[in-house]
């Protein structure tokens, strides 16, 4: 098969078929995703995602760096949950070199991960409003996200691609003002989350555009490999923090948010609930961060023995797996990332088939795709 053959051939079967290109430069695809949509009137008959516009070969580049160097690249995969991406790599390397992470570092990691989840969901909420024609949510979501990014900037020095979680712990200790700022932010955010509900949740236009749209059943969600809020909205229990706890999530009390409808509104509700759960997790930890080292003592050059390791974490979008193969040298032999968004793109056609072209925008918005994570 010639891979350069135009795939329109497959998509168009008769002269009546109408093909529309959405993307690569389309605001509702949130990046450079190219969708070819076959239409009949306004009804979608087929969706073909074309990937590769932002492929940077992060997996191959990881093989060139040492075990300390490769994880900084993963901040650039799912840039909205860069702490969790770094954490997944750090966990894999720690498993390989068998290092016990200090308690303080574990707590800092969870705090940072949950703050990232909050920031990511706030951005999703704002961008989703923008996709569905409401501009106010965008400003309100970004206002709250800005405060979290300022907290990150104080401690890590950067706002988006932090590279803060490193093998053995975290890179530097927390900023002295960290606790004070987070407590102040949580106080404000708990009041503001009511605004979120006022603006969007009960809104009649939003409800009619999302209820019963883009339904995916639990069986299909599993078979397409969906994870995170997308699968939980279909009733699949798949929270890695609950099922395979890491970094001390087993000691915390939080609920796994599950809905059963599987439509866009259910995905919306799951993410809104997750924000409240993240606030609860941060509140449990913020007042008792243990004293001690923020990084375990490791050798300057990390040299794991020959072997293979797999770790996974729950990012804001779903399950991120890191598969690490070592041949005993100072560089990884192979690194494979299992990213949640790639699976969600494959489920896009199943969800949007039979719907209207406006529904596709709602589905894309609630899938919360981050395209650099699809291509890597």
């Amino acid at each position: 098969m010639n891979i350069f053959e135009p795939e329109n051939k497959k998509l168009v079967e008769s002269e009546q078929d109408f093909v529309v290109n959405v993307g690569p430069q389309h605001p509702s695809t949130h990046g450079v995703l190219h969708l070819k949509i076959k239409l009949e009137g306004e009804t979608i008959k087929a969706v073909q995602p074309h990937l590769g516009y932002i492929h940077r070969s992060i997996e191959k580049m990881s093989e060139a760096g040492s075990y300390r160097q490769f994880s900084y690249l993963t901040s650039r995969m799912d840039y909205l949950s860069s702490h969790m991406n770094n954490q997944a790599c750090a966990l894999a390397v720690e498993k390989a070199i068998q290092v016990e992470v200090p308690e303080r570092a574990k707590v800092i990691r969870i705090l940072m991960a949950e703050l990232t989840r909050l920031a990511s969901h706030q951005l999703w909420w704002g961008a989703m409003g923008l996709d569905l024609g409401a501009i106010t949510p965008f400003f309100i979501g970004f206002r709250d996200r800005e405060e979290i990014l300022e907290i990150f900037e104080d401690t890590c020095g950067t706002r988006l691609t932090m590279n803060y979680v490193v093998p053995g712990g975290v890179m530097v200790d927390l900023h002295p003002d960290f606790q004070k700022k987070v407590v102040a932010f949580l106080g404000r955010f708990k009041k503001r989350i009511k605004e979120y509900d006022d603006l969007v949740t009960g809104n009649i236009i939003f409800e009619q555009r999302t209820k019963g749209v883009g339904v995916i059943s639990a069986e299909d969600a599993i078979s397409y490999g969906c994870s995170g809020p997308v699968a939980r909205a279909s009733g699949v229990s798949c929270d890695i923090r609950k099922l395979h706890p890491y970094d001390g999530y087993e000691k915390l009390e939080f609920k796994e948010c599950i809905e059963t409808e599987g439509d866009c509104f259910a995905r919306y509700k799951v993410r809104m609930e997750e924000m409240k759960e993240s606030v609860k997790i941060i509140e449990q930890l913020i007042d008792n961060i243990p004293e001690g080292d923020f990084q375990a003592k490791t050798k300057n050059v990390l040299k794991p023995p020959k072997g293979e390791w797999f770790t996974r974490v729950e990012t804001a979008r779903g399950e991120l797996g890191v598969y690490l193969i070592s041949d005993g040298t100072m560089k990884p032999y192979r690194v494979k990332f299992r990213s949640p968004n790639f699976s969600h793109v494959s489920a896009l056609e199943h969800m949007s088939k039979g719907g209207k072209i406006g529904d596709l925008v709602a589905i894309m918005a609630t899938l919360d795709l981050v395209i650099p994570d699809v291509d890597r």
Binding site: G65, R68, Q69, F70, Y72, L73, A134, T136, R143, E146, E150, E153, D154, T155, C156, G157, T158, T161, N163, M171, V172, H175, E195, D198, L199, V200, G202, N203, I204, I205
Partner: protein, 160 residues
């Protein structure tokens, strides 16, 4: 029949109510300017609020007598994932007449830097730090290659 009519008008009233609820919030922020957090960036360039640890660019610290703390151990060069740092060293004769390695040029390619902080963490003598300057855009990429040690600078006494 009346039940269906009541349902129909009820849904309209409910829908309008939900829209007004959202509009009330928009109106609140329209009239309350204190809640606005936007920065007027190019105007407030002199006092942009920034974290203490902001990663702008790598700089080498020099004290009053033009001395730095870099021994030229190349730990930062090894730690850098992008090959941003290149240390060119030379042999110097110190006061006791012994030959000693010292840096000639600490070359820093800002254009390749991803600000991952690995060089700063790896430095054993804390010679380099991250500075806050972030306005690096330039028409000529030659200006992005910098030599961090000042001309005529020497290593601080007592730093090994």
């Amino acid at each position: 029949m009346i039940r269906y009519l009541a349902m129909y008008f009820g849904s309209i009233i409910k829908g309008v109510k939900s829209l007004l609820k959202g509009m009330r919030l928009t109106g609140y922020y329209f009239t309350h300017h204190k809640e606005i957090i936007t920065q007027q960036y190019p105007e407030n360039r002199d006092n942009v609020p920034m974290g203490d640890r902001f990663r702008g660019e790598v700089v080498m610290l020099h004290n009053e007598s033009n001395e730095h703390r870099c021994t030229g151990c190349t730990a930062c060069e090894i730690a850098c994932p992008n090959g941003t740092i290149k240390i060119i060293s030379k042999w110097e004769v110190n006061a006791e007449g012994k030959k000693k390695k010292a840096i000639d040029q600490f070359v820093y390619h800002l254009g390749m830097c991803t600000f991952c902080n690995l060089c700063i963490v790896s430095c054993p003598t804390d010679a380099i730090v991250m500075a806050k300057d972030f306005e690096h855009s330039s028409y000529d990429r030659k200006t992005l290659t910098k030599i961090l040690n000042k001309p005529g600078s020497k290593i601080e006494t007592g730093v090994e």
